[in-house]
Amino acid sequence: MHVDLIPALDAAGLPGPPWLFHVLLVFTFFLHLIFMNLTLGGTIMAFVSHLRARGRADDANGVLAARLTAVNTYAISLAITTGVAPLLFVQVLYQQYFYSGTILLGWSWFALLVLLLIGYYAAYLHKSFRGPWLGVSSVMFFAVAMVHVAVHLVHVQPEKWSAFSVGSWRVLGDPTYWPRLAHFVLAAVTFAALVAAWWAVRRARAGDAVDTNSRIAATAWQWALWATVLLVVDGFILLALLPKPVLLGLMRGGLATLGPLTLAIVLAVGLLVMLARSGRPVEHPGLVSGTLAALTLTVAIMAVTRHQTRVLYLEPSTSRFQADIVSQWGTFGLFVVVLLIGLATVFVMVRRVLTSPAEGEEAA
């Protein structure tokens, strides 16, 4: 007997046109990626740098590790906070698939919470006690990435749910699982490395600990270079391993799909060229800023392509369902107003803080 394992659409309908949720999902996911990259890539880099420093705090690697750990105080919180929005919008658009995928993974999905908590507090423990905590934090965040990739691959393949219900670990055997995971991790390392290089170049150019910052910039630049080499190779492998209908969908989608994909590939190759141009980034601050900007743009475009592959994976299923649209334009308008006020508030707050330095009795 043929049984349909895909649940029905939510009876409440979509509270707005689908395109709006697609845009919000991709945009907020991009925001999340920025901080996620800093968290995951930064923690891995900090751990390796900490090991290479062999406990010497004045060593360039030691300073780099401390700097990345300090950034993580903000990045982890903001990665979680910005992750709430795409989690919200994916539930609106893909609730049938997303919930089914997470239920099939069960405890692995639940473990995400525990992994995040341990990862975060281990990073704090490292600040106070050193020891193995940075390694623990790296492993936890890597495991979080594993869970997310698993959820993604399970939820987009309802034709395999029956098999996954017997053993969800089978997702590890999906041809694209490991290349997809590697893609995220390498991108995270590249991003964190470029941010570290950019910051070190700024400090060095401002005359602050020039020698140490120059060495940090060069080290981080090397990290970014080699991670990008691997990233580009892995990207082509991932593309080749995509299921044929998905790959064909990307190729036949015209400008809408080929445009972002081509641009992302061109940018990735361009990144390689820019990174290989110089081994002394501190002498080329414009190149460093440009490379970081190009990488940020690449991340944004890859967020679009990733979403398009999800749409293509699910197309055979989603084409069977037609959601009722029950728009809530009034409350959406309120959201936009609140968002603008919120962004303005953050801007005003940060500006006031930056323009109000104080010391001693004058300080808070």
Binding site: L5, Y99, L116, L117
Partner: protein, 508 residues
């Protein structure tokens, strides 16, 4: 009910309770803590009081460590667990209130940024700028409560939304304002319960002043909480109040929970006033422990009550606790749950196996096999029947019946049940017969639950359902065909416990 079923081995409700209670404690602490910490800093600037400043500064570290990550992760945790155990319900809430959640997310972003900046800029920026950051934190944290409170209260008292399906009708529902007042008071209690520990590290000469200062916050929090609670209870529909109030509440345990909740608040208020306000020199770590226990007990009791009185719904009068929509009852009864859910249809077609899948789909969101709300313990054993039938010594049968059986057989007296049961000799001679009898009783209960579906379907869907008069008002109806009811009964009958108590018959 058409999603795959997560067989975690735990009751979904228990898992949700752990995550949700952890989150609400932290989330309310983040709100109340922010308010008290920033108000304290403001006061310290006005009075040039270094001790008060230190109280605020030291408290802000815990605020940041707890609220910015633990609060955020446990908040996401509620979505994670809800998606695992009640995907239909969380989907319905998200589709109805996505823009509410999106607005809350904006406040959350501002709150987190402000918290991080607030903590890391002590001693680095001017007092005025620091206070501005602090108050932005307080306002954004409180506004996130203003939003989420509408969604939480909507689940218990959707009010006019049932007829209009309009966002604001559900948001500003009958318990919205009472709940907001109550949670505001709770937030203050959470903050003081923690800050007492920080205040203990103040200098000995200033400690009494600081304890008394916290005492006023505690008193205000307790009084606001009490007023909010009373208002909340008064705003509940009668059909909800009947669950835990009156001469014969449907769920006496909730009546006990209510008493526990209010006594916890009273005890906390008494200790807080006596120690913090009247005799602050006596304040010790144990004072903080007592206040924390009282605050947690009051808050936990209230949350347990709020969740409990929503039975059998997740969204009152709209969606049952197992994800079944009221509007689906008739269609599923006609075609069967297997026609509605591939996860029920897929697999071994034997009645017992189908019954297990039906159990997982319809019952497992509230029940576990052996743990919380155990199905196995609810099933009568051969020993139960022997004890009731034997009634030896006289009176023991009625006592056992009241303790073990009457909760399900509310409309059957002990005498009626004893008359229906075979004699104790017949029970001992033919154990197979008693199994059949047992299965018959299970079938009867399932069919009663199925018939109750017609009662629910007959209600006006635009009104809050009046559950008074229903046979089993705290349970969702069983939905499915006759064959599916038989299959569920066949599965449940396999769960009979070993006949552990049989030897005791006649021996006591």
């Amino acid at each position: 009910m058409d999603y795959p079923i997560w067989s975690s081995g735990l009751s979904g409700g228990v898992l949700m309770a752990w995550v949700a209670i952890t989150h609400v404690i932290v989330a309310h602490f983040a709100i109340g803590g922010g308010l008290v910490v920033v108000a304290t800093e403001t006061l310290s600037v006005k009075r040039a009081d270094r001790e008060l400043r230190e109280l605020a500064r030291r408290s802000s570290l815990v605020l940041i460590l707890v609220s910015t990550v633990f609060g955020a992760i446990s908040g996401v945790g509620i979505w994670v667990v809800a998606g695992l155990i009640s995907p239909g319900a969380i989907s319905s809430l998200i589709h109805t209130y996505v823009w509410g959640w999106a607005i809350e997310w904006v406040f959350f972003i501002v709150e987190i940024v402000a918290a991080l900046v607030y903590y890391t800029t002590w001693d680095k920026i001017s007092k005025g700028a620091h206070l501005m950051v602090g108050w932005l934190y307080v306002v954004s944290a409180y506004l996130s409560l203003v939003i989420i409170n509408g969604i939480i209260t909507f689940m218990l008292t959707p009010g006019d939304w049932l007829a209009s399906r309009a966002f604001w009708d559900g948001f500003f529902n009958p318990t919205y304002w009472p709940s907001l007042v109550l949670r505001t008071g709770i937030a203050a209690l959470m903050a003081v319960a923690f800050m007492v520990f920080v205040a203990l590290t103040s200098s000995p000469e200033r400690r009494p002043d600081i304890m008394r200062y916290l005492g006023w916050w505690w008193l205000a929090g307790a009084l606001v909480s009490y007023a909010g609670y009373r208002w909340w209870e008064a705003a509940l529909p009668d059909t909800v109040t009947a669950m835990f109030r009156g001469a014969e509440p449907w769920l006496p345990t909730l009546d006990a929970t209510r008493a526990f909740t209010l006594w916890a608040l009273a005890a906390g208020l008494a200790v807080g006033v006596l120690i913090l306000l009247v005799a602050p020199r006596l304040a010790r770590a144990v004072t903080g422990v007592v206040l924390m226990v009282a605050a947690f007990a009051f808050f936990g009791g209230y949350e347990r009550l709020r969740e409990g009185v929503r039975k059998p719904f997740l969204i009152h009068s709209h969606m049952f606790s197992n994800g079944l929509l009221v509007s689906q009852i008739e269609a599923i009864n006609a075609a069967g749950l297997a026609a509605h859910s591939g996860w029920v249809a897929q697999g071994d077609p034997s009645p017992e196996a189908l019954g297990e899948r039906l159990y997982l789909a319809q019952c497992s969101s509230c029940h576990s096999l052996d743990g919380y709300q155990s199905i196995r313990r609810a099933l009568p054993t051969l020993a139960d029947m022997e004890l009731v039938a034997a009634d030896d010594p006289p009176g023991s049968g009625a006592l056992h019946y009241r303790r073990e059986c009457a909760a399900c057989h509310r409309d059957v007296s002990y005498e009626e049940m004893a008359a229906m049961l075979p004699s104790v000799e017949e029970i001992r001679d033919d154990s197979e017969m008693i199994h059949e009898l047992n299965r018959g009783m299970i079938t009867m209960v399932i069919l009663e639950l199925r018939e109750m579906g017609a009662d629910f379907a007959a209600f006006d869907p635009a009104e809050t359902f009046d559950l008074r008069g229903l046979h089993r008002p705290v349970m969702p109806p069983f939905v499915g065909t006759d064959e599916e009811a038989e299959a569920l009964a066949a599965y449940l009958a396999t769960l009979e416990r070993p006949n552990s108590g049989a030897a005791a018959v006649g021996g006591e």
